[in-house]
């Protein structure tokens, strides 16, 4: 992929994320998640331009973009209070029921592949209304029929919850999650790919419209906003990422 292509890919993902976040007041973003952060910043900038209510972005682990004063537990408390509207989770594996696995593959505990661990996923998935599953790699080894270890479960009818998956975004496509049915539905396929590509590279089953629309590309104003203000804002927290984006110009 050329640097320009890679930048276009990132700009597309950033634009989709801004759309997925529309309407929220407070989004939390992981310390090493520049694309989600950029999506949130794009929405914030747009809301400002359009005179819509401001949105707050908490970047975990950053001391500059940290609205918290009660230590590491505050994000979790804040989510439990209903004060965090959106968050991003990835997953070494994501299955068709929306469950995610951050622990590893094979039999626990001596797994074949061990990942870092569940972090806050088992908790936040229950409490944050719009959890966006964001995983750039779109392959059958990531998108599996059933995860080997459920770090966080998507649907738990045995307990009341406000949180859960809202959408799944990859390099290939965007899926919505249907909490009633407990599964994904393909919303759109990114330019350069077909619905068949998505079906081939997805290990789980999902619903899809008869004609799958292409994911809309960012318009010129959006692209300019990203290349200008958003790259500048990113530079504070994600200098390396901002540099790559700028270098592609």
């Amino acid at each position: 992929m050329t640097m320009q292509d890679d930048r276009a890919r990132k700009e597309l993902l950033i634009t989709i994320i801004a759309g997925l976040l529309d309407g929220i007041r407070h989004v939390a973003v992981g310390a090493s998640s520049p694309i989600p952060a950029a999506g949130a910043m794009l929405l914030r900038a747009r809301n400002e331009q359009q005179g819509k209510p401001p949105i707050s972005i908490s970047i975990l682990g950053s001391s500059r973009h940290n609205f918290f004063t009660n230590g590491g537990v505050e994000l979790f408390d804040c989510a439990a209070q209903g004060r965090v509207d959106a968050f991003f989770l990835g997953g070494g594996q994501i299955d068709g029921a929306g469950n995610i696995n951050l622990v590893g593959t094979g039999d626990y505990p001596r797994m074949d592949v061990r990942w870092p661990g569940s972090f806050g996923s088992a908790y936040l998935y229950h409490l944050i209304p719009r959890v966006i599953l964001f995983r750039e790699e779109h392959s059958p080894r990531v998108l599996v029929p059933k995860v080997d270890f459920v770090s966080a479960a998507a649907v738990t009818p045995e307990v009341k919850r406000r949180g859960g998956p809202h959408a799944l975004l990859t390099n290939l496509a965007l899926f919505d999650f249907d909490r009633e049915r407990g599964g994904f539905r393909l919303r759109s396929v990114h330019p350069g790919y077909t619905a068949d590509d998505v079906r081939d590279r997805t290990g789980f089953d999902y619903a899809a419209p008869e004609i799958v629309p292409p994911t809309p590309m960012p318009d010129r104003a959006t692209v300019e906003l990203i290349r200008g203000r958003i790259v500048d804002e990113l530079a504070e927290c994600y200098p390396e990422f901002a540099r790559t984006m700028a270098a592609a110009a």
Partner: protein
């Protein structure tokens, strides 16, 4: 009340088999004491990562100091996975107690409050409940009927962290990193390394006192300049990313890890 000691004396008070709470990278990790612990040949420690760890846990695992690891994740962050942790999981040389971040905070909070357990939202449906039989699901005894997860109190034998400064009375500046206070409240003994001892009383003003762990909770303090290196210390220095990458590359093999460790320990001794 806090005693001012040297690094060796600080870690000499940790006994084989004890549980030890250690903070997340950005909250002030005592790498200086980590080197001293490895050097002292400690074994069988039960790490309680609050709520995750990185280089510190990986070194303690690789050096054979830690035999139980209670954590929500072990990762070198941008430098990638934690190689000695991953190797130890595969060869079964550590006992895992996988968790999720707020459950570790909740367990410590139960320790702070002197109650046997703490309820916690979420978690239901996670396989963590299968691998943590000490976590229970109960029917809420109050309010609307519903299932709630409860986790047992965590009362570590030792809490260990690094902070910018302490005063002569043993008060320690922790800023907004209140998990350090929670660790100390819950732990039986608290050991702290600091960049320096300051002359002013950290409790003197309402502003400075708000960011202080009182000496009441601090058992021993040792000065260790640059004591979090190569991890960051707030208001003081950033992560040494090159060093972390160097570690990540070397620690892929057991031999590489040994070579890194040997250099790390001699460097620590020169500094101390």
């Amino acid at each position: 009340m806090a005693e001012m000691v040297g690094l060796e004396a600080l870690v000499a008070s940790i006994a084989a088999g004890q549980s030890i709470a250690i903070p997340v990278d950005r909250a002030g990790v005592s790498m200086a004491a980590t080197a001293a612990m490895i050097d002292a040949g400690l074994t069988g420690l039960h790490l309680v990562c609050v709520p995750i760890s990185g280089l510190q846990a990986d070194l303690l695992i690789g050096a054979g100091v830690a035999s139980v690891v209670e954590t929500s994740a072990v990762s070198l962050g941008e430098a990638g996975g934690a190689p000695r942790f991953v190797a130890a999981v595969r060869d079964g040389s550590i006992k895992l107690r996988d968790a999720t971040c707020p459950a570790i905070h909740a367990g410590l909070l139960a320790g702070q409050k002197g109650v046997p357990f703490m309820p916690i939202a979420g978690i239901i449906g996670s396989d963590l409940l299968q691998v943590r039989p000490d976590w229970k699901v109960i029917d809420s005894p109050v309010g609307e009927p519903g299932k709630v997860v409860v986790v047992p109190a965590i009362t570590p034998d030792v809490a260990l962290f690094h902070a910018p400064e302490a005063d002569r009375f043993g008060n320690v500046r922790i800023g907004r990193y209140r998990e350090l206070a929670t660790m100390a409240y819950a732990a039986k003994r608290t050991l702290v390394t600091v960049e320096r001892i300051v002359d002013r009383d950290l409790m003197a003003t309402e502003d400075s006192a708000a960011g202080v762990l009182p000496a009441l909770y601090v058992d021993a303090i040792a000065v260790a300049e640059n004591g979090a290196w190569p991890l960051p210390l707030w208001d003081e220095y950033e992560t040494d990313g090159a060093e972390l990458s160097r570690y990540a590359a070397m620690a892929r093999t057991d031999e590489g890890f040994r070579a890194y460790l040997s250099a790390f320990l001699s460097r620590s001794k020169q500094v101390a």
